[in-house]
Structures are given as C-alpha cells and as structure tokens.
C-alpha cells in the first residue's frame, strides 16, 4: 500500500473544497476495485457489482462534504456506502441510517482528532493483517454477509476499544460545536 490514510483524507478535502477531479481519480483507482470485489464476495454478479461500485464511487463525490475524518477513515466511510448499496440492491431492502451528524459550514474537526483517528485506523489495519488467517476470514465473511450474526461473536480480540474512545471524544466535540 503506497498511500497512507492521510493521503486519502487529503483527497476527500480536495474534493470538498475544490471539486478536485484528480483527487477523485486517485480515490477511484484505489477504492473502486475493492468495492466491486466486496460486492461480488457478497454474492452479486460481475455486472451488478460493476454498476453498484460506480454508484458507490459517485456517492463518494456527491456526499464528500458529509465525510468526517475525526470519526471514520476514508475506507470506513466508503465501506458504509457500499454496504448500504448492497442492502438496497441485493437484498431489496431500505436501510435506515442514524441521523447524520456533520460539521456545519463554519466549524470543522480538530486536526489532532483527525490525526489520532488516522493512527488508530492504521493500527486496526495492521491488527487485522496480523490475525491468524482463519480468524481474519471469519471476520471478512461476516462483512460479506456470508455468516449469520449468531455464528460469530462481536468479540474479535481487535483493538476496537481505543478507536471507540476516539470516536466518542470526536462526537462530544461535534455536539459541542453544534451547540
């Protein structure tokens, strides 16, 4: 992986602030093949996955201003869009999402929070890569919709507690900014 999380966040900012197409192309080249693969592993055909991956990437552009780098990595945010597209297109079900909490046009997240979340995301990426193959596969299959939730416990042994604390802190700051 040549690019780091910080580069992806910079691409998102370039899209939001300057409608920067080059930044979008960089995100597209990295994430579109992953989104398509994720959808195919979730049971969709090549052509449906292609169609949905394009829609997901278009949403990344259209909703770029909703991305909050103090609460999610770019990959995490794109995962949620892809997952919702899968529920909608493959399971033919509406997906209720929590009320959107976004920074208004004036306020923006604290840079220290953004950097802390990037570090936590990279730690989590590494922790997943370091898992025994069997355990990693189980987690992957759960996210591909290949396992019922009763078959896998939410206990993964991964460092999710620290990332949760970071997100909680960022939420408190966001609530404060929202007044």
């Amino acid at each position: 992986m040549s690019k780091q999380e910080a580069d992806w966040v910079a691409c998102m900012q370039a899209i939001t602030l300057h409608q920067d197409q080059d930044a979008f192309v960089a995100l597209f080249r990295h994430f579109a093949p992953r989104v398509k693969s994720f959808l195919m592993k979730s049971g969709s055909s090549d052509s449906l996955a292609e169609e949905c991956a394009q829609e997901v990437m278009a949403t990344v552009w259209n909703k770029a201003d909703r991305f909050d780098p103090s609460r999610a990595s770019v990959a995490t945010w794109i995962f949620t869009i892809a997952r919702n597209r899968r529920i909608d297109a493959i399971r033919k079900q509406r997906r209720p999402e929590p009320e959107d909490l976004t920074w208004g046009p004036e306020a923006e997240p604290d840079q220290a929070d953004v950097m802390a979340l990037q570090q936590e995301s990279e730690k989590l990426n590494k922790a997943i890569a370091d898992l025994p193959a069997k355990q990693r596969e189980l987690i992957e299959r759960a996210y591909f919709g290949d396992l019922s939730h009763s078959e896998i416990a939410a206990e993964t042994g991964l460092p999710l507690g620290t990332i949760k604390s970071r997100i909680r802190l960022a939420l408190d700051r966001l609530r404060h900014a929202m007044g």
């Binding site: 693969s37 292609e50 949620t80 936590e120 939730h149 990332i163």
Partner: protein
C-alpha cells in the same frame, strides 16, 4: 437524556455488517440517533468493515468505469436539501421523532396514522420489508399493554414518556431487548403518554384469552 438501557454488542454488530431485517435496522438507527455511546460503538465496528474493505483482493473495473462514474456525479453537496432534509425543513420546532423514524412516518408525531387497538393504546405499523415488523405504540399514562410473550426477539425503544415492566424502568432513549423467555406486561408511567418504537421478528403471543383474539387486528 440519560440512557440506561443500550443495544447489545450482537445487535450493533449485525447492524454494522448489514444482516438484520429492516424493522430492526430502524430501531437501531433510531436509538443510535439518540445515543452517542452506541453511535461510537457502531462507528468502531464500521471501522472493522473499513479495514476488511482495505484488505480485500481487487476486482477489475470496466474500461470506461471512471468515465461513467464521473457522468453520475453532481456538484459536491448538491443533493442536500432534497428528500429527508426537505421533511426536516418543513417541520416547525424540535421534532419528537429522530430523523430515521421521520423518514418512515413522512413527518413527525403529528403525522403518524394511528389506529386504536383497545384500552386507549394506539399503534401505527410502519412499512418495512418482510421478516420483522416495526410499529409505533402510543400508550396513555398509567395504561398497560396486554401481557405478552414472544416467539422471537422484540426490541422496544422509548421515544417519549416511560414504561416499567417486571424487569425495569425504561425512559426516553432506553431500549428493551426481550427474548422468547420474557413474559412481560409493560405499564406506561403516570404523567405523559408513552410513545415507543417496537420491532418483532415473530408475531407476539398474548397470555390472556381476549387479547389473543385481538391479535390479527393488532398485526403484531
């Protein structure tokens, strides 16, 4: 708002991977809208999904994929003010129902199409996919919902007022997770009408004779 009864890890996980019936998704999205603690738990599990996406092997995109994707884009943020946000803008004052519920009701509490189900209790079934049912319940202060057990899981989220049953008291934002073993008779607290969102993945079975007859009309 002090929330004492939160979602279980299993429910948040199943919501994060996207494997719950729509009615349960609606309860979880609504609770998370009211509870920053569960929102942080959900977003940390989403981070796991992000890590999975990062590690997945690559699929080949069509040659003209980028071009066709760009053709689907609008100006960033242009989609704001449409759809659900438009509903929000139409409402005066602070809404009682969180956003995900307003999307299903098509407005706030005043727009709910209530139907009486006896004893002053009213309900409104919300349109969701098969597999589970979601409904809003309005229980007058002091009134009881008939004794019932469940064949599956029942989630009950309090939106306004409070109720108590054999297990505990549930106030705004609290969610009760009841499984097959729980026979309970929730009673709304004195003071304010209790408004709840409930989801069941199997029809309820009532303990007493009369409510059992009423069940087909209740559709719960």
């Amino acid at each position: 708002m002090t929330i004492r009864h939160h979602l279980s890890n299993e429910l948040i996980w199943a919501y994060s991977v996207g494997e719950l019936p729509e009615a349960f998704d609606l309860v979880i999205a609504t609770h998370v809208s009211m509870c920053d603690e569960c929102r942080a738990r959900l977003e940390s599990l989403n981070a796991l999904g992000g890590a999975v996406l990062e590690h997945v092997e690559l699929a080949d995109m069509d040659e003209d994929a980028l071009h066709r994707t760009l053709a689907r884009t609008q100006g960033v943020g242009d989609i704001r003010g449409r759809g659900k946000d438009a509903i929000r803008a139409d409402l005066p004052g602070t809404p009682v129902l969180p956003q995900p519920l307003r999307d299903y009701v098509g407005g706030d509490l005043a727009q709910v199409a209530w139907r009486p189900v006896g004893g002053g209790v009213r309900q409104a079934i919300l349109p969701t996919a098969k597999g589970a049912t979601a409904r809003l319940l309005s229980i007058p202060a002091g009134a009881a919902v008939p004794d019932h057990g469940h064949r599956g899981t029942e989630l009950t989220l309090v939106l306004q007022g409070a109720f108590a049953d054999e297990t505990d008291r549930f106030g705004p934002g609290d969610v009760e997770i009841a499984d097959e073993d729980l026979e309970h008779s929730p009673v709304a607290e004195a003071g304010e009408t209790c408004i709840c969102l409930a989801a069941t993945d199997a029809p309820l079975r009532f303990s007493s004779f009369l409510p059992r007859l009423a069940q087909p009309f209740l559709r719960i």
